[in-house]
């Protein structure tokens, strides 16, 4: 009804005065309707591809200042299936070299995205101990979890930014395959049945990461030249960042020292 009434009035008005005041109004709205075409998102500027002939390498070693804590022995007698001896892996230092430090390119890669590697990384449970203790993996990459022990383990990650799960893995059962969708550094993983069993998964969005070995050494290859922030993360001693610039084909040495907690 409203519409009809106003239309009548409109027609009458036009006939009376010839003023097309209102028609002009209508025109305006038509125009704006045409301008409302499909919304299009501005395409992200394409990232510069990595030229394999210019890539650089960052490597170095991580040291521990001060007296290294003595690794404490773990009593595994509650489960006879846990063979061998086991020591705490909180801070593993041998002659000043710090192992199990996760090193990765935290910043500087811009908007580059990287394909998820097809190969799975393996997390092994043997001797009621995780191998490795710190594991790097890319977001979305498959982690294959194996149980080589003659006992049941359960794998229980307690993430901050990923989904939590907790699954049982009896002896000689097939590997569990999982992946983590979001970046998260030092995501704790534990076994509720063997309270000493603990390891960390670091999930990153780029393939430029490494974990220091027994001698504190690490190496990150294939890095395009540029300015980067390299982060060194340790489960107990926290994070240390360094800014570095690498030139084409350069092999840069980046060392890092950690102080004993509380010093």
């Amino acid at each position: 009804m409203n519409k009809k009434n106003s239309l009548k009035i409109l027609v009458g008005t036009i006939a009376l005065s010839g003023l097309l005041l209102t028609a002009a109004c209508n025109k305006n709205t038509e125009q704006s309707s045409n301008s409302m075409a499909e919304k299009q998102a501005a395409p992200a500027p394409a990232a510069t591809p990595i030229d394999p002939s210019t890539v650089a390498t960052v490597k170095g070693s991580v040291k521990f200042d001060g007296t290294a804590p003595k690794p404490s022995k773990i009593d595994m007698s509650q489960d006879p299936a846990c063979k061998g001896s086991n020591e705490s892996e909180n801070v593993v230092v041998s002659s000043g070299d710090l192992a199990n430090v996760f090193v990765y390119v935290k910043d500087g890669l811009g908007n580059r995205t990287f394909d998820v590697p097809k190969d799975a990384v393996v997390l092994d449970q043997s001797g009621c101990k995780y191998h490795p203790h710190v594991l790097g993996v890319m977001t979305g990459q498959t982690v294959q979890i194996k149980n080589d022990d003659q006992t049941t383990h359960n794998i229980h990650p307690t993430p901050k930014d990923n989904r939590e799960w907790n699954e049982s893995q009896p002896p000689s059962s097939p590997a569990i395959e999982k992946n983590f969708a979001r970046e998260e550094i030092m995501l704790p993983v534990k076994c509720n049945q063997h309270p000493w069993m603990k390891m960390y998964v670091s999930v990153v969005k780029n393939p430029f990461y490494a974990v220091t070995d027994k001698s504190g050494k690490y190496e990150i290859k294939g890095l395009p030249p540029g300015d980067y922030t390299i982060a060194f993360v340790h489960e107990k001693l926290g994070e240390q960042d360094q800014k570095v610039t690498v030139a084409a084909k350069e092999t840069k040495n980046v060392d890092q020292n950690f102080k004993a907690a509380g010093e």
Partner: protein, 1088 residues
């Protein structure tokens, strides 16, 4: 007659008024156009908006459609979909020949039916016409001739030409028979065709279902449907009209997308050229909480019952939102939108839908209780116990009178009966007398129940602040005046508000409190071990309610006091008593005699001086006594030495030495006492504290139940009425920086002459409306500064704004009569005792303990989540557990179910009332019916038992590795409850769900998922099964559950010793083990 000279200038003849007329005409025309325009558009701003909406929304839908089509394609690419498609195509091909054949037959039958039908209906019509004539003809002869005519017609043969060209002749009865025959044949054929096509349609439906299930958003088809709707749209008023509730809401004339099934943000409704969303874009969003609309169907609830505003107005945004002087219910501002909930949900303490908690209104409701607002202000539903107690008392009196009357009446009736004229009369009267005796016996039962009630209510009455009758036992005397000066100076997070007391008032009040307190003394205790006390304090769960540290260092809950400086004020011996059992009272109080009862009263009657929940009758007159401190602090069932250790630790918590407080000798001045009493009354101290002489004192503040609907004129803005109306540069009267920081939107710039403005200013600086007034010390506003944060002011303001007398019919109030009522009542208790400080009730809800550093790496030590508690445990067991969480009357210094947890489930001394409500609450929350009728667990035969045992103890399912067994050596490392509890405690169906996927029941639990997998309709063990399982076809999950429910201590011992680990500890003296098990069993028995 003198000649009249012609005026030199005749205005009519000499001056042209054309210009004026022209101007007037133009003005008139302009007015006309303006009036017309106003009629068509000016008064109908929604028209232009709707035109805009059509464009913007269809543009948006186009974008969504292409996205939806892409994701549909993604879904269709899935191999599962491909498989479904393949199945569909295969069934289609398979059924094709058969289907074609059936369809052909059906078509043929249809054609034949048509041929017969055309002839048959013609002839039937003719027969009917003749019959009608027969019925209406008047003479018998005419009837007879008609009958003949009909018979003749019926016997005539009619020709039917069938589609295949053949011709047949039928009489009318034959024709009818043929017609029915073909019709039946057709029905049969179409059923056959349906059967043939069934797998095809089913396969097709599966494909479609797969797409709908796997699409996060709407499917392209659904979006096309929405687009069609816009295409046909004519500008119109969109209105919800609910006559019963007098709701007429035209909000959707502008908020067109409110109920659309997509998420529509202002950004997506912004026209292409604009950078920022304009007014239209903001109006065209979808409702941010579609889940809420599902519970509150807009067609029933409209918009304004929740949001307020003038639902009928359509002429402008201001009018529609009710933001003008003459509308009493303006739209709730966004920050306070949850105020609308309070209108119907005043009886709910916690508002949550799914895992969403409505935090603003919930916090407002909570603060009103926690901060002791209810101590001064009555609010329907809060602090109900004293009122209930009163009403129970009245009922008791009434029933007693009734009983007396009945006895009198009985005696009278019997007397009458004895003297009755006839036996019939006597029997009738005696019968009435008997009925009255029965009635009295029923009344006795009711009286008994009311007595229990009042016992419960007495137990349930709590005060926000501590009992000040204990000050002499409890406090450092010199500290009291310092505290009263400004409590936040000593303890910034305290609940005690700042009363702006003068030094003289402080002296008088302290003197009264001190002199009216008990002169008894607390038993002496030896000093304990502070380090051990600290550990206990941090692990037993104290910090779920109490905090320690200040500012950034503050850790723990804010439900109870911050203990950072408790060492400066507390008396060690009293603190030990308090920690051991805070409910322990110095002297019982008799509300009937209105006095504290002492040993002398007991001695007079030769009774021992003993009072507790089981000995709560007044020695003088048998009335119910208050035997507990009215605090919610529970008992942690600590050993006395542990209480000493914790108290010792807490006494170290101080910034200055207790002796450094200035001497307050004036507190003993008897002259100050009378004046002190006056001020205690004036400031309403007894609203939160128990104070001698004030036990029956009423509340001093106004009732706030309907504060939000008070007319604005009745809110006293005092000298700021104009300032608040005007707004602008000097609109903000608060000068104090601390108080300014409490205003949710900062200092006022806009006019704030509304309820929101009044409440916010009142809460930020309660005496603000005294500013500029000349008032004596007894006339000044008494409301203390509750030192709220910005957020808390917003929460409470929201709560008060929603506290309205609603015009909606009573059926709109959320007052369910079913199990949901139990949920409603339960939340009040859950909040009263801060159960949520330790336990998770709502998925995603954070507890205080979860936030503490000591649990970050140690989540196994957190108290259990209670997401499915009602479905998990037997309600009768739950009642026992809640009243005695140790599940034992002798071995109490432990947790009954989870002895491995350091954090302790305390004993809350719930009254029967509260126990009943809590049990019902948990059952209702998990949708469990009451009373609970346990499921019968089948008894396993020997073979089944053997199988279950071997699975139970296999290396693949090492249940006893984590679950406690009662063997102390093993239980040191146990992280789960003892299976022996299961039978009495758990519900079998829940156990089956639990062992299948514990992560779904209690996310983050130590118990792993994936133990069972589904095989056909059975659940079978996922790992390697013991050899005895070969050939077993039953459900493994069920078998294991049944086994758990019939586990005996002997059986468990047997299994434990057969496990690899138990061998290692087998050297342990078996009788020791036996003893441990026995003690466990007696512990169990205690709860039976």
């Amino acid at each position: 007659m003198p000649e009249q000279p012609n005026p030199e200038q005749d205005p009519i003849t000499s001056k042209s008024y054309a210009a004026y007329y022209l101007i007037a005409t133009v003005i008139l025309m302009a007015t006309l156009f303006w009036a017309l325009w106003d009629e068509a558009w000016g008064q109908r701003p929604w028209k232009a908006l709707q035109e805009n909406w059509k464009d913007r929304y269809s543009a948006f839908l186009n974008t969504s459609r292409s996205k939806s089509a892409t994701s549909e394609k993604d879904v269709e690419q899935n191999s599962d979909y491909a498989a479904l498609k393949q199945t569909y195509e295969k069934t289609y091909q398979d059924s094709k020949p058969q289907g074609d054949e059936a369809r052909r037959k059906l078509d043929d039958a249809n054609a034949r039916l048509l041929a017969v039908q055309s002839v048959f209906t013609d002839r039937r019509a003719y027969v009917n016409a003749l019959t009608y004539e027969l019925e209406t003809s008047s003479s018998d002869s005419a009837k007879a001739s008609k009958r003949k005519e009909i018979d003749k017609y019926k016997n005539e043969q009619a020709t039917v030409q069938f589609p295949d060209g053949s011709k047949q002749k039928y009489t009318f009865p034959q024709l009818e028979e043929k017609y029915n025959e073909i019709r039946d044949e057709r029905t049969k054929l179409s059923l056959e065709l349906g059967d043939v096509l069934k797998p095809v349609t089913a396969a097709r439906a599966k494909m479609d279902e797969y797409v709908t299930d796997h699409m996060v958003d709407l499917t392209p088809q659904q979006i096309d449907g929405l687009k069609r709707k816009i295409g046909d749209w004519d500008p119109q008023i969109v209105q919800i009209n609910v006559a019963d509730a007098n709701i007429v809401d035209r909000c959707e004339s502008c908020h067109l997308n409110a109920r659309e099934p997509l998420k529509i943000t202002p950004a997506s409704m912004t026209s292409k050229g604009d950078k920022k969303p304009d007014e239209y874009a903001n109006a065209l969003t979808s409702h941010p909480e579609p889940e809420l609309l599902k519970i509150h169907d807009p067609d029933k609830f409209g918009c304004s019952p929740c949001h307020q505003g003038n639902g009928r107005a359509t002429t402008s945004v201001e009018k529609a939102h009710g933001n003008y002087e003459h509308w009493l219910w303006p739209l709730f501002p966004k920050a306070n939108s949850e105020a609308g909930c309070q209108n119907c949900h005043a009886a709910d303490m916690v508002l949550a839908s799914g895992d969403v908690q409505w935090q603003t209104i919930n916090d407002g409701k909570d603060l009103f209780r926690q901060r002791g607002c209810m101590g001064c202000h009555r609010y329907e539903g809060y602090d109900k116990e004293p009122e209930d107690l009163n009403s129970v008392g009245q009922q008791i009196k009434q029933i007693e009178t009734q009983k007396k009357d009945n006895i009198k009446q009985t005696a009278y009736l019997m007397k009458q009966a004895d003297a009755a004229q006839s036996n019939d009369e006597a029997n009738r009267l005696n019968g009435q007398a008997v009925d009255l005796r029965v009635a009295n016996s029923k009344l006795d039962g009711r009286l008994q129940q009311l007595d229990f009630q009042s016992h419960s209510l007495m137990q349930d009455m709590k005060k926000v602040g501590p009992n000040l009758k204990d000050v002499r036992l409890k406090l450092n005397k010199n500290w009291i005046p310092v505290w009263l000066k400004k409590p936040t100076d000593f303890r910034p997070t305290t609940k005690m508000p700042n009363f702006r007391l003068s030094d003289h008032q402080i002296q008088a009040i302290s003197a009264y409190i001190w002199q009216s307190g008990f002169t008894d003394s607390a038993p002496k205790h030896k000093p304990g071990n502070a380090a051990h006390g600290k550990e206990l304090f941090e692990t037993r769960g104290c910090m779920a309610c109490h905090s320690i540290g200040e500012g950034d260092q503050l850790q723990g809950g804010t439900f109870a006091a911050n203990l950072t400086r408790v060492g400066e004020k507390a008396n060690y011996d009293y603190l030990v008593r308090w920690i051991h059992n805070a409910r322990e009272r110095t002297r019982p109080y008799c509300p009937y005699e209105k006095k504290d009862i002492g040993p002398e009263d007991y001695a007079k009657k030769g009774l021992p001086y003993k009072f507790d929940l089981d000995h709560s009758q007044c020695p003088n007159d048998g009335h119910e006594l208050q035997v507990q401190n009215m605090t919610v602090m529970p008992s942690l069932r600590l050993a006395p030495e542990d209480a000493e250790d914790i108290a010792t630790y807490l006494m170290t918590q101080k910034k200055q030495d207790p002796s450094s407080y200035a001497d307050a000798a004036f507190m003993d001045d008897p002259n100050l006492k009378a004046e002190g009493k006056k001020w205690v009354r004036h400031f309403g101290c007894s609203g939160c504290h128990e104070i001698a002489g004030f036990e029956d004192e009423g509340r001093i503040g106004t009732e706030l139940t309907f504060e939000g609907s008070k007319p604005i004129e009745r809110l006293d803005f005092a000298l700021f009425t104009e300032t608040a109306q005007r707004g602008g540069k000097n609109a903000e009267p608060i000068k104090d920086n601390e108080d300014l920081a409490r205003l949710p939107d900062g200092p006022a710039k806009e006019p704030w002459y509304d309820h929101k403005g009044f409440f916010e200013h009142k809460l930020a600086e309660p005496n603000i409306y005294d500013q500029g007034k000349v008032r004596g010390e007894t006339e000044a506003l008494r409301m203390p500064n509750v030192h709220l944060t910005k957020e808390q002011v917003r929460d409470l303001t929201t709560f008060l704004m929603g506290s309205e007398e609603t015009s909606l019919p009573a059926s709109y109030q959320y007052k369910p009569g079913d199990a949901r009522h139990d949920i409603q009542e339960g939340w009040w208790i859950v909040k009263k005792y801060n159960c949520m400080g330790c336990h998770q009730f709502i998925p995603g809800q954070r507890t205080i303990l979860m936030g503490l550093p000591q649990y970050q790496d140690n989540q196994e030590q957190l108290p259990p989540k209670l997401l499915t508690e009602g479905a998990r445990v037997d309600p009768e067991w739950l009642r026992k557990f809640l009243s005695n969480p140790a599940l034992s009357t002798t071995d109490t210094n432990r947790n009954g179910v989870r002895p491995y947890l350091k954090v302790r489930m305390p004993t809350f001394s719930f009254s029967d009332n509260e126990l009943r409500k809590l049990v019902r609450f948990f059952e209702a929350l998990s949708q469990q019916p009451l009373p609970y009728i346990p499921e019968q667990v089948p008894v396993l035969n020997t073979k089944e038992s053997d199988m279950a045992r071997s699975l139970f103890s296999s290396t693949a399912a090492p249940c006893l590795k984590c679950h406690a067994t009662g063997d102390p050596a093993h239980d040191k490392i146990a992280t789960a409850p003892n299976f022996l509890l299961a039978k009495e405690r758990l519900k079998p169906d829940w156990v089956e769900r639990w062992i299948t996927d514990p992560q779904a029941v209690s996310p983050g639990t130590s118990m792993p998922s994936g133990l069972f997998k589904q095989q056909n309709t059975q659940w079978v063990f996922a790992g390697p099964t013991p050899p005895s399982f070969q050939g077993y076809t039953g459900d493994h999950r069920k078998l294991l559950t049944d086994y758990i429910f019939q586990l005996t201590p002997e059986e468990q011992r047997k299994v434990a010793s057969s496990m690899p680990h138990a061998k290692a500890s087998a050297e342990m003296k078996s009788n020791h083990k036996q003893a441990a098990l026995e003690s466990h069993r007696t512990g169990n028995g205690g709860s039976r």
